[in-house]
Symmetry: C2
Subunit: 247 residues, 2 copies
DNA sequence: CAGTGGTCTAGACCACGAA
DNA sequence: TCGTGGTCTAGACCACTGT
């Protein structure tokens, strides 16, 4: 009576994982077709695809319909820096970084009105951003600023404010406090296709709300990142040394 | 030539999702067996299981091997409060909250030594915590404190420090700064079984490092939460009103 | 034991990408 | 057109939970 048998697809995944991490399979290389791999391992294609699915979730393999399965180039991990509201300097300074920004004016609806604490239908400036490096999508952002608080300069393509969007930075008047809520979830179909990730790969979502000293919400941002490519880091300075763990 | 046909399992998932969100299926209720559901929808069990898998990822359904599929009671979302290093007060005050804590002394190895910035093999106090409310697991934590910085009181079962573990709070001497790195990933097999979640459901992982004013690392914590049950919130106060979005 | 979910198969057909 | 991944089936067998 030894232990129970581990699922077959775990074995396959482990084998492929090792071949990738040891360099036996090179980054960018195409794996043999699923049919061939299935025959080689003497398993069905369904089982093989389960194994590949796990590796895709780990960010080791990229599946491209009609082309094949590819060993993913180890992406530099992007760092979202909380409080500052931007990508880390190394990433932000990356010359290959492109950003597509689309701006428009929309009425506040539902959750947005709640987030920004404005009446339903208030005009908001909306900025939709996609951060792109080469073929890789780093993340997408939708940033909302009340229309009457939107700096005019942001509409100029070359303004500093506009450039700030490259790093998902905070817009609008200087905030007094920034609150960021982080959660993880499966991607929506939209996000899944926009970020070119599978429906299995989780995303890291950040909801950022910045408030000025008068308590007005000056900006709300909905940020979505591929979970396997991004970390978020938050630093807290405890200015007042008080014991904080006591009841 | 209308659009392409959506995958069948999407339809099934959408139908079940609606039945759950509209209350047609009550929380805690057991769904018909997969065999029955598959027959009812006239699909194979494999396809049905795909649909259920999606719902499980969304936190709507809980699968229990040998018993059935159940509509998940809408769990209060737990909030991990960054900087403070604890669960939100409402959760922390929950009387039904139990915590299993196991403490031991381990030598610093590999990543731990790097995180804590201590020599390899230094003695560390390790606290393994599982937070439990009823049948639900909120998260698990492994907290490490250099042995020579460990308050003796923490070994008492009733001390305030010990109680603090209930909320995953910071241990050890008062830190000057706390840095928390948040990422999402698929659960390890260990975490998957410990938290009773599927291998598809992503987890939210927080690595917390606290440093005192002398730059010594006084605590490192590895926290893992089921992604669908926990948000992490971080608040930043911008004491020095400087424009931060300019280049 | 019976009933449940978990894994797997062999083969069919569809959708995408590059000729 | 061909080769690729994507979806689906019908049925088999295994593993877990309760009686």
């Amino acid at each position: 009576m030894t232990g129970t048998v581990p699922p077959r697809h775990h074995d396959i995944a482990a084998d492929l994982r090792q071949q990738i991490t040891t360099g036996r399979l090179q980054p960018g290389e195409r794996l043999p077709s699923e049919t061939v791999l299935a025959q080689r391992y003497a398993i069905s294609t369904v089982t093989l695809r389960r194994a590949l699915s796990a590796l895709q979730g780990e960010g080791l393999v990229e599946k491209i319909h009609g082309k094949g399965n590819f060993v993913r180039r180890p992406h530099r991990k992007i760092m979202y820096v909380g409080g500052w509201g931007t990508l880390d300097p190394w990433t932000a300074a990356e010359p290959a970084l492109r950003v597509s920004v689309r701006s428009s004016t929309v009425p506040a609806h539902g959750d947005l009105a709640t987030l920004l604490n404005v009446p339903l239908g208030s005009p908001l400036a909306e900025f939709s951003c996609l951060s792109i490096e080469g073929e890789t999508l780093h993340g997408l952002a939708r940033i909302y600023v009340p229309r009457d608080l939107t700096p005019a300069a942001v509409l100029d393509d070359d303004s500093a404010d506009r450039q700030a969007l490259t790093r998902f930075a905070v817009l609008g008047p200087q905030p007094a406090t920034t609150q960021e809520t982080v959660c993880t979830r499966p991607p929506t179909p939209d996000e899944s296709s926009a970020l070119r990730i599978g429906t299995a790969a989780p995303v890291l979502a950040v909801t950022r709300v910045s408030t000025d000293s008068a308590g007005r919400v000056v900006e709300a941002a909905l940020l979505t990142f591929p979970g396997d490519r991004v970390d978020a880091v938050f630093t807290t300075h405890h200015a007042n040394p008080e014991r904080q763990t006591s009841a």
